[in-house]
């Protein structure tokens, strides 16, 4: 399957503003809430407090406390309410402050939301979005730093999106809200203040379209979420050293644009998958397997992975920073892999 209509990140141009990731998410939610009265937000501190990450600032002023609904600290409860409300005509957006709290809503996501459409023989739908976060290096310790997107990606019946830029954050959120399936959107906590170009007006990025963030010829970095910027930095360094790296962002784990990943792997012959989930049994393994399977006869080196270390995230800054892949590690690995060719 080719992807001729791929939605590509815009370059700076007339009508293209530079806004933060948080503003992009905020705009997406506001636009969809204006467009469809069935859309509402519920979660902890989403209204009066505007969320700890300030992503939702101002929404309650426009849409009121019914549609921007503060909940008690009751994750399983409000996630379950969202499933029920979605089954009967609403389009809830659940705000789950930290991805670590996925542990608390897994029954409602895995046993209820993901299975209702299938188990009802296609008669019922659960059009809900759960937005949550990933990412370490905020000195938040082991229970507020995990990147657990592999858990939800493993469950048939859920879609999973991982925006890495303001543009993608807006376009994927709007697509997720309009989707008739339960969609989990995982945002990198550290990227909320990052800025990027976002055109005025409507942006909807269909789930299942990868984006080539940088073109290259010697090696492919398949990078997700927080690791896209790491891959771009490594590519920059490598360019100065005469190596051309391509950076491909799948943007959604489910559905997965396997064609674009495989196409890039065939072109460069070398692939590193980089993802902030724990490396063992994570999405990096799945992405690596897709590439190995689809591009085997075009590969000049084994597909490599870089993930977070298999340790609980330590509080100690000196230790914490070692657990997440860095541009330096990726650069070194890429040089080693490309060196093997000469």
């Amino acid at each position: 399957m080719s992807t001729p209509s791929r939605t590509v990140e815009p370059r700076a141009a007339a009508g293209v503003r530079t806004i933060t990731f948080a503003q992009a998410v905020n705009e997406a939610l506001a636009e969809e809430m204006r467009r469809d009265p069935a859309v509402f937000i519920l979660g902890e501190d989403v209204a009066e407090a505007g969320t700890p990450f300030k992503v939702l600032s101002g929404l309650v002023d426009e849409f009121g406390p019914e549609r921007v609904r503060d909940t008690p600290i009751s994750e399983a409860g409000f996630a379950g309410l969202a499933v029920g409300a979605a089954m009967t005509g609403m389009r809830p957006v659940v705000d789950l402050m930290f991805g670590d709290f996925l542990t608390l809503v897994m029954d409602q996501l895995v046993n209820q939301a993901a299975k209702t459409h299938y188990m009802s023989g296609g008669k019922l739908k659960v059009p809900m979005v759960l937005r949550t976060t990933l990412g370490a290096t905020r000195r938040s310790a082991a229970q507020h730093s995990q990147s657990l997107h592999a858990w939800v990606s493993h469950v048939p019946g859920l879609k999973v999106a991982l925006p890495a830029t303001p543009y993608d954050a807006k376009g994927l959120m709007k697509a997720a809200i309009r989707d008739d399936n339960p969609v989990v959107i995982v945002e990198d906590k550290l990227s909320f203040q990052d800025k990027g170009p976002v055109p005025e007006g409507e942006i909807v990025i269909p789930l299942g379209q990868a984006d080539v963030k940088r073109e290259g010829t010697d090696i492919t970095f398949i990078a997700t979420s927080s690791m896209v910027v790491v891959a771009l930095r490594a590519a920059e360094t490598l360019a100065a050293q005469g190596l051309s790296a391509e950076v491909v962002d799948p943007r959604s784990m489910v559905p997965l644009d396997t064609a674009t990943l495989v196409e890039s792997a065939k072109k460069t012959g070398r692939v590193v998958v980089i993802d902030e989930g724990h490396q063992s049994y994570g999405v990096s393994a799945e992405l690596a397997a897709v590439v190995a399977d689809g591009a085997f006869y075009h590969l000049d080196a084994p597909v490599k992975r870089l993930g977070a270390m298999d340790v609980p995230v330590p509080f100690s800054p000196v230790l914490e920073d070692l657990t997440v892949p860095t541009p330096e590690q990726l650069t070194a690995l890429a040089r080693e892999m490309c060196g093997a060719r000469s």
């Binding site: 009751s74 399983a76 409000f78 379950g80 029920g84 089954m87 609403m90 299938y118 296609g122 399936n181």
Partner: protein, 333 residues
């Protein structure tokens, strides 16, 4: 016992017939299970029929119903046809869930029957969410949620009670307290065994009801449902009932004595009500036989329908994982 004063012959016959419809259908299910026509789990409601029959009468077609894995009776009385239920238990595509759900996952959109949930307590927040949707959309509907005493030990029970009461949502909690969560007695599972009292601590109206008395169930549910519908917030009914059969089909019942089961069978809701109708001269032998025949005929039609049903084509296995229709594949209406 609720007096039969004012009970019409027609109303009495409907209640008795509905209880018989569940009983006869499930007795047949047990036979079909022995013949391996029905496989997997099969949780029979026998003994508890008065609850579903009485409670459903207080609901309107616009209301929503969420139930548990012991939900054959609820589905039937809500209006899902016996044919579709039986075909579903067979796993045939003519079943109400296309054969995808089975005994524990009966779904039916037209009657607003939202399962059939095999996670204990898992359906409770769904019902509260449906009530939230109704409140937000200004619809005067009730979301009725059936669950067992076992669910009251789950965290989702607590979170749902709190949210429903906090937000004053139009949900009717129908707790079917049959005294056992699987094979563990309630006194070994709940620190406070008076579950209505527990519910009242969330500041919602709650009371217990004799779940073996179909008239008491109907009256209590009508009162509670009307209160919910008129903006009174969530209500909680604890129906004291008893299941006569095993938890599922394989259960040595080591956790309760034969004497205890026999004592509860003395209060069989069907026999109790039948006798009361006779005492009030509202039921003749011929009428009774006629009701039995109606129930039996319905079951036999359902079995014939399920037997004649077809398996879903294997190429449809991956349909409905996600809601988009698969490309180039026609979607049946």
């Amino acid at each position: 016992m609720t007096p039969t004063d004012g009970l019409t012959r027609e109303h009495g016959h409907e209640l008795l017939l509905d209880m018989l419809r569940i009983r006869r259908m499930e007795e047949r299910c047990a036979e079909l299970y022995q013949k391996t026509k029905i496989r997997g789990f099969l949780h029979l409601y026998i003994g508890e029929e008065a609850v579903a029959v009485g409670a459903m009468r207080a609901l309107t077609p616009d209301d929503a119903v969420v139930a548990t894995y012991r939900e054959h009776g609820h589905a039937l009385i809500r209006g899902v046809s016996a044919e579709k239920i039986m075909a579903e238990m067979y796993g045939k595509q003519e079943g109400c869930s296309r054969g995808r759900g089975g005994s524990m996952h009966l779904y039916d959109a037209p009657t607003r029957f939202y399962g059939g949930n095999a996670i204990v307590g898992g359906g409770i927040p769904l019902a509260v969410g449906m009530a939230l949707a109704d409140k937000m959309q200004g619809r005067e509907r009730v979301s009725a949620c059936f669950f067992g005493d076992g669910a009251a030990a789950e965290g989702e029970f607590h979170e749902s009670m709190n949210l429903a009461a906090l937000w004053h949502l139009p949900v009717l909690f129908c707790c079917e307290n049959n005294l056992y969560g699987m094979g563990t007695g309630i006194e070994r599972a709940q620190s406070e065994t008076r579950l209505a009292l527990r519910a009242a601590s969330y500041r919602m109206s709650a009371w217990d009801v004799d779940g073996m008395d179909v008239l008491a169930v109907e009256e209590a549910t009508r009162r509670a449902a009307e209160a919910v519908r008129s903006g009174g917030g969530p209500h909680f009914l604890e129906f004291r009932t008893y299941r006569f059969r095993a938890h599922s089909m394989f259960d040595p019942e080591l956790y309760r004595s034969k004497e205890e089961v026999a004592a509860w069978k003395e209060r069989d809701p069907i026999e109790l009500f039948r006798q009361r109708l006779r005492d009030a001269e509202l039921l003749t032998d011929d009428e009774d036989a006629g009701l039995e025949a109606l129930a039996s005929d319905e079951v036999e039609r359902a079995v014939a329908f399920a037997e004649a049903g077809t398996w879903e084509p294997v190429e449809d296995l991956e349909r409905f994982v996600l809601s988009e229709p698969a490309p180039q594949r026609e979607v049946a209406s």
